[in-house]
């Protein structure tokens, strides 16, 4: 087995037993990046020197008796919308060209405290707006299972680098499904924790009331390990919840007998691909065979989630993104005659089409005279959607749905039709609008492309979600399939 194929917990065991060093693991990973990154193109920045320095420091500390934590010496990647001190943070946008934050995101700080080793920052849809990573202002990332297809988005870079074994784990951010949908398309585990579970400090904001950071990993146990490291309230984020964090690993390996799964009819009708429906159906049977109860239920406001989301999130985005004026950091259009022109040219050249579209949508939705009809109405719809879930969770412990209506689509297929693109998130958005936790795990394949199963939980009940996800994963070990790079890596595409 190659070192780069190791999962977090496997690598941890070897480091702890002193069978390998952190540097060896890192070098394996760096070689792998060299090998496949030319095709996958998941990284915006590879922090090779920084990582080597960190890995060697960590080895020295271990030699001097430092306790080896679950993430000590484990290489990882951050989506490029999380601030890393003195390391480029671009949000895959031209407007943040050259921006090196003078501070770290809390999640990054927490991982570094554990001794995890940052190897790079991953590509994304610009400012996390998109479902294919084709909206990156820099370049498009490829799906490791089929480079002619998209890895999903907006955390497409993070999902792709984990799926292609370039890092054992990565962090992504999820606003309307941006961790779960790419996890589904790339065949990895991706969790969006409860809103408030993970500090957003240092996460460059897209839509503040929805954004949440979460892990992308190779298996459920790894997901639990990373969750343990990043969760917990933060004095720097007043929206982070003062709620105790359980040991998520304690939910791994437990039986699921008696846990009730809700099946909502709405999630099997909205534009879902027949083959996907089929695979999800088998996964649900699988869970029943493990002893889980099945509850049919309805989430009647599901179809309103998407339109409401496309009012709330652009509204917040229009405000969050207004600070990029070209004056203090990032890109500035130099050829301007006055301040207003500097602002205008900087923003019109610095932002990509999707970002501009959403800024305009959001500005309109918040403008006086339209606020009540759009933003306020959308917030009311949001409450209705949340109430649906509250009601549903009176009768079940988790809700199981497809993560996305289709498998990964061809690059360029949806780029000319934003509305079609938005439909990819139709199953993930209601969860985000309700602030609930959910995971996407691989549950099967269609023509060699992975399908994701979404498991939604009650607020702060990530434990039960992981318990169910892990039991499912254990029962379907064939899912340990890897994308086959042999055909194009060595052949040179």
């Amino acid at each position: 087995m190659n070192l780069y194929e190791l999962k977090v917990h496997e690598a941890h065991d070897l480091i702890k037993q002193k069978k390998i060093s952190c540097e060896e693991i890192l070098l394996g990973v760096l070689d792998r990046i060299e090998e496949v990154e030319g095709i996958v193109q998941g990284f915006v920045t590879v922090t090779r020197d920084y990582a080597l320095k960190k890995a060697r420091e960590t080895d020295k500390k271990i030699a001097l008796g430092r306790k080896v934590g679950p993430l000590t010496g484990i290489p990882f990647a951050l989506k490029d919308n999380m601030c890393s001190k003195d390391i480029l943070t671009t949000c895959s946008s031209k407007i943040l060209e050259g921006f090196k934050p003078p501070y770290n995101a809390t999640v990054f700080e927490r991982l570094e405290e554990q001794g995890a080793v940052l190897v790079g920052k991953t590509n994304m849809d610009e400012f996390a707006m998109g479902s294919s990573t084709e909206n990156s202002g820099l370049f498009a990332t490829k799906n490791p299972w089929d480079p002619s297809r998209v890895p999903g988005g907006s955390s497409g870079g993070s999902a792709a680098v984990v799926a292609s074994d370039q890092v054992p784990f990565a962090l992504g951010s999820d606003t309307g499904g941006s961790i779960r949908q790419p996890a589904s398309y790339c065949g990895v585990v991706g969790m969006k924790p409860t809103y408030g579970r993970v500090s957003r400090y240092g996460l460059v904001a897209f839509a503040s009331s929805l954004d949440q950071i979460g892990p992308l990993t190779k298996d459920v146990k790894d997901c639990a390990l990373v969750m343990n490291a990043i969760c917990g309230s933060d004095l720097k984020d007043s929206t982070s919840a003062p709620v105790d964090v359980p040991d998520f690993c304690s939910f791994i390996g437990k039986e699921v007998k008696g846990i009730r799964m809700g099946i909502a009819e709405e999630y099997f009708s909205l534009g879902i691909d027949d083959a996907v429906r089929n695979v999800i159906g088998k996964a649900i049977d699988n869970l029943e065979n493990l002893g889980m109860g099945k509850v049919e239920l309805s989430l009647p406001h599901t179809s309103y989630a998407l339109p409401a989301y496309y009012l709330v999130s652009p509204a917040e985005a229009s405000s969050n993104l207004s600070r990029y004026d070209g004056i203090r950091y990032g890109f500035r259009h130099e050829d301007s005659n006055n301040l207003l022109e500097t602002y205008q040219k900087t923003r019109s050249r610095g932002f990509g089409a999707e970002v501009k579209r959403r800024i305009m949508l959001g500005t309109y939705a918040l403008s006086s005279g339209y606020y009540d009809a759009y933003y306020l109405k959308a917030q009311k719809v949001r409450t209705l959607i949340k109430n649906d879930f509250d009601e549903a969770f009176k009768n079940c412990d988790v809700i199981v749905t497809p993560t996305a209506p289709t498998v990964s689509f061809k690059a360029g297929e949806n780029t000319q039709d934003p509305l079609q693109m938005y439909l990819n998130d139709v199953f993930t958005i209601p969860v985000s609008m309700s602030g609930l936790p959910a995971v996407s795990i691989p549950c099967g394949f269609i023509n060699g492309l992975p399908v994701g199963l979404q498991i939604i939980g009650k607020p702060f009940d990530e434990g039960t979600i992981l318990q169910v996800a892990d039991a499912f994963e254990q029962s379907r070990s064939f899912l340990n399939m890897k994308p086959n790079f042999g055909s194009f890596v060595r052949g040179g595409v």
């Binding site: 921006f99 904001a205 207004s322």
Partner: protein, 478 residues
């Protein structure tokens, strides 16, 4: 009498005197080197989040309570979106529909009449930075030290009826705010800033006239002069058949006139919405009760109490309650020396005179209430004369010495020894037969002369009252 009625409402911005900024832990001191008191949060760098300074909220509640407001138990922050070079996030965190305080009032005294001016709202927000423009107008620099300094905005109802009344309102407001200690209220440093909405209408009309907004008046004088100018300008326009254009004006101190800043057509759409980075606030009864304990007796109540409790005149009570420190000093004295009128005279008279001359206030002078009372006791007991007392206080004020020290060092102790005085008086009578004869011939002036002689021979330290008594007594027997 004019046929017009003036309608003025004020918006006052107050920088709170917290040690740190409203959403981060940067210091708020005034006048430091530009951009030295900044961090990623108050610079609004990508990814940062605000965290509310609890003390700022308490100060806003305190301000609300002092202005008789209802305190909203549910309050939240909103974003006010606008693009401006000194506003690093391109929005200001402010409060829109749930301010900390609402529906209050402030009683002001204008022309001997007490008027109740409505307070529409008291809300919390963050200050912006400061632009420094180059002399040639080619570039501007931004100082972000002020971004994130906590502000309280106080909005009055349009209840003010003259420029004079607006100034009085502002002065009384400042006095109250200083009492509460929420701000140093220094207009010259921008910690108290005032904008005014102003319109005129024919008397008896119910509808408001078109208003103009007068911005950035940085002294009480400017407020009164600016508003007076604007009232006259509006009336003149109406008289000449013109209409008032709704616009924002600036008071130009040197020209003595109002200048257009922007017209209504350029008015902003602030696109307010709840700030998703800050959770809504529950201002609990516990907190309000806690803050209430910080609320001092306010100037007007204190003044009324001084009149009834200490039998002072309205004027004296008004002066003594001019600042919280002066009132406290006075009351400390009265606790030790139960003659309020005498204390009042000395505090308002001699002591204030020295303070004004030296540019000091009650926080910075060396004379304590105990010191002043010691001096007053010596005066009362006749150990020093009224004239000497003034000199003693002057010395106490300058050197910080105690009254008895000053008296001893300068040998100012009054001679009140019967025997000593009798001896001196006998001598004066012996050496001044002429005036003694005059006195006997009922020439009143002669007594004064003889007293003067006694004082002269004692270097002014004889107890004048005793001198008078003994002299009359001795003269009877001559």
């Amino acid at each position: 009498m004019s046929k017009y009625e003036v309608v003025i409402g004020l918006e006052v911005h107050l920088e709170l005197g917290t040690k740190t900024k409203i959403f981060c832990s940067c210091p708020t001191t005034f006048g430091d080197e530009p951009n030295t008191q900044v961090c990623p949060v108050c610079l609004g760098l990508p990814g940062v989040l605000p965290v509310l300074n609890k003390r700022a909220l308490e100060f806003a509640v305190l301000t609300g309570l002092a202005l008789n407001c209802e305190i909203n138990s549910y309050s939240k922050f909103d974003r006010k979106n606008y693009f401006y070079p000194d506003l690093p996030k391109a929005y200001q965190i402010s409060q829109f529909d749930f301010p900390v305080g609402k529906n209050g009032y402030l009683k002001i005294q204008s022309n001997g009449e007490t008027r109740k001016i409505g307070i529409n709202r008291v809300h919390l927000e963050e200050d912006a930075g400061k632009l420094i423009h180059s002399n040639d107008g080619l570039f501007s620099l931004v100082d972000y030290n002020r971004t994130g300094v906590p502000l309280v905005e106080i909005v009055s109802e349009p209840d003010l009826r003259s420029a004079e009344e607006a100034r009085v309102f502002l002065e009384d407001l400042k006095k109250i705010l200083l009492y509460t200690g929420v701000s140093d209220c220094k207009m010259e440093e921008g910690s108290l800033r005032c904008d005014a909405n102003i319109s005129v209408r024919l008397k008896g009309e119910a509808e408001l006239g078109t208003k103009t907004e007068l911005k950035n008046m940085n002294s009480f004088k400017a407020v009164q002069k600016g508003l007076e100018f604007e009232v006259e300008r509006q009336i003149e326009r109406l008289e000449n058949g013109h209409r008032i254009v709704q616009e924002t004006l600036r008071w130009d101190e040197t020209k003595g006139e109002t200048v257009t800043m922007r017209s209504k057509e350029e008015a902003h759409d602030y696109r307010y919405f709840p700030d998703p980075d800050l959770v809504p606030m529950e201002i609990g009864v516990m907190m309000v009760e806690k803050v209430k304990k910080e609320l001092p007796e306010l100037p007007l109540e204190k003044k009324e109490r001084f009149v009834s409790q200490y039998c002072l005149s309205d004027y004296d009570a008004q002066v003594l309650t001019g600042t919280r420190e002066m009132a406290v000093f006075f009351e400390e004295c009265v606790k030790l020396f139960s003659e309020p009128k005498i204390v009042s005279n000395w505090v308002m008279g001699e002591l204030s005179m020295h303070m004004n001359a030296a540019g000091l206030d009650f926080c910075t002078i060396k004379v304590t209430p105990e010191d002043l009372v010691e001096m007053l006791e010596m005066l009362k007991q006749g150990k020093i004369s009224g004239k000497m007392a003034k000199d003693v206080l002057a010395e106490m004020f300058n050197s910080g010495k105690k009254a008895h020290q000053v008296v001893k060092e300068k040998g100012m102790e009054q001679i009140s020894d019967q025997g000593v005085l009798e001896e001196i008086i006998q001598e004066v009578i012996k050496t001044n037969p002429g005036p003694v004869a005059d006195y006997k011939a009922k020439k009143k002036k002669a007594l004064g002369f003889l007293v003067g002689q006694v004082m002269k021979s004692t270097g002014g330290s004889a107890n004048p009252q005793m001198v008078n008594e003994i002299l009359r007594d001795k003269l009877k027997n001559v």
